[in-house]
């Protein structure tokens, strides 16, 4: 059975503990909000192509914490070079998961490159990620949990999901608010005074 994006993201974020999350522009950010808004999720409303690198910056700054980037195939395709950059840096605490519906979901469901067979997981492995898997079923999603929470990374997963429109569940939009609440939740109230 084809995976449903909202269920996949809910599973990935279940019992997230101290996990730090970057949610890429568009549907994946709404998916993360639908799974439960959190100060330790940074949803992106712009800067398309930057989600993976935000995860790298966060992972380097917080080596004792686990970092998960959840983003879409279109967003990832706009920043493919970051796979090479992350592959060079090899942050052990970073996992990058692409929710791949093979569509640009926010702009009219136009086909992305992955619809034509572009294999992001192979690119990640070739770039030096510790793992890079293509996931098509619930068992594969469940198997990602150790990669996200425990095993040495960097990890990459491309999860094929149904191309469907789902109800918008939107996080706060104000970028300064999103930044400040994340930093305060992670670094303490004094982060606002830095």
């Amino acid at each position: 059975m084809t995976l449903q994006r909202r269920e996949v993201v809910k599973t990935l974020l279940a019992d997230r503990g101290e996990l730090l999350v970057v949610a890429g522009l568009g549907s994946t950010a709404w998916d993360c909000t639908a799974a439960g808004d959190s100060a330790l999720t940074f949803p992106m409303w712009g800067a398309m192509g930057c989600a993976a690198m935000m995860g790298l910056g966060l992972a380097l700054a917080q080596p004792a914490r686990r970092v998960l980037v959840l983003t879409g195939d279109g967003e990832m395709l706009m920043g493919l070079g970051s796979l090479a950059t992350i592959g060079v840096q090899k942050p052990q605490n970073l996992a990058l998961v692409v929710i791949d519906n093979e569509r640009y979901g926010e702009t009219g469901m136009q086909a992305t490159h992955t619809a034509h067979g572009v294999d992001l997981a192979v690119m990640a492995r070739a770039s030096g990620f510790a793992t890079g898997v293509l996931v098509r079923d619930a068992a594969g999603v469940a198997a990602l949990r150790p990669c996200i929470h425990r095993d040495k990374g960097p990890h990459f997963a491309q999860i094929k999901v149904a191309a469907q429109k789902v109800p918008l569940v939107l996080p706060p939009r104000d970028g300064a608010l999103l930044k400040n609440r994340f930093r305060q939740a992670l670094l303490g109230a004094s982060a606002a005074l830095e």
């Binding site: 930057c50 910056g57 992972a59 090479a84």
Partner: protein, 205 residues
């Protein structure tokens, strides 16, 4: 500082071909001021823990100094835009990030700078200029001439370092502006500082 140094007009030296590409238009004055060393000291003193860069000949020494500094994690980028994500993520995690790039790279960060402004993320960018002053490569000129305007259009504070002695002072002030004011600040390091290489000189470097 005493009298400000002026770059004396130099006779154009012709090689056997006498071509534009092979002549030294304006070799830098023998460096009395080690601006990369001074800039590195500023970055270290202010606690920059992450330095992202796309290599540029003008940044060669500063990159190497940062790479040799155990307090700094250097991240080589495939394109400058990656540096904006890197810096934003680092700041979310409590680390200061500086970016080193050539002026052409400023063209690659424009949209991502929207996130920096909207989220009020402090960011220091040190830009070595091309296409600005005595450039031999015409393809560098459009972006080099537009660099300051493009940055300002995206809300970045711009400081221009036209002499070696100014670079570290500007880097220090720009970093304080950025991290004190939760904004982006860029220091444009003139070709008057880094020297204007001919293509042959650059290739031999």
């Amino acid at each position: 500082m005493g009298n400000p140094r002026r770059i004396a007009p130099q006779p154009v030296r012709h090689d056997s071909r006498g071509s534009l590409e092979s002549r030294s238009l304006n070799a830098p004055i023998a460096a009395e001021i080690d601006w990369p060393l001074a800039a590195h000291q500023v970055l270290a003193r202010l606690g920059f823990g992450v330095v992202g860069y796309v290599p540029d000949a003008g940044h060669k020494r500063l990159i190497e100094l940062c790479q040799a500094d155990a307090r700094m994690r250097t991240v080589v980028l495939t394109t400058e835009e990656e540096g904006i994500g890197l810096a934003a993520g680092a700041w979310l995690g409590g680390a200061k990030c500086a970016l080193l790039m050539q002026s052409s790279g400023v063209g690659n960060i424009v949209n991502a700078l929207g996130m920096v402004r909207e989220c009020r993320i402090p960011l220091l960018v040190l830009v070595t200029m091309r296409g600005e002053y005595g450039e031999f490569n015409p393809w560098q000129v459009p972006m080099g001439q537009a660099t300051a305007d493009v940055l300002r259009a995206m809300g970045v504070a711009v400081q221009q370092a036209n002499a070696a002695a100014e670079v570290a002072l500007h880097a220090d002030a720009a970093a304080r502006l950025a991290f004190g004011g939760y904004c982006a600040a860029a220091v444009l390091i003139s070709q008057r500082v880094i020297g204007i290489k001919s293509f042959l000189e650059q290739a031999a470097q």
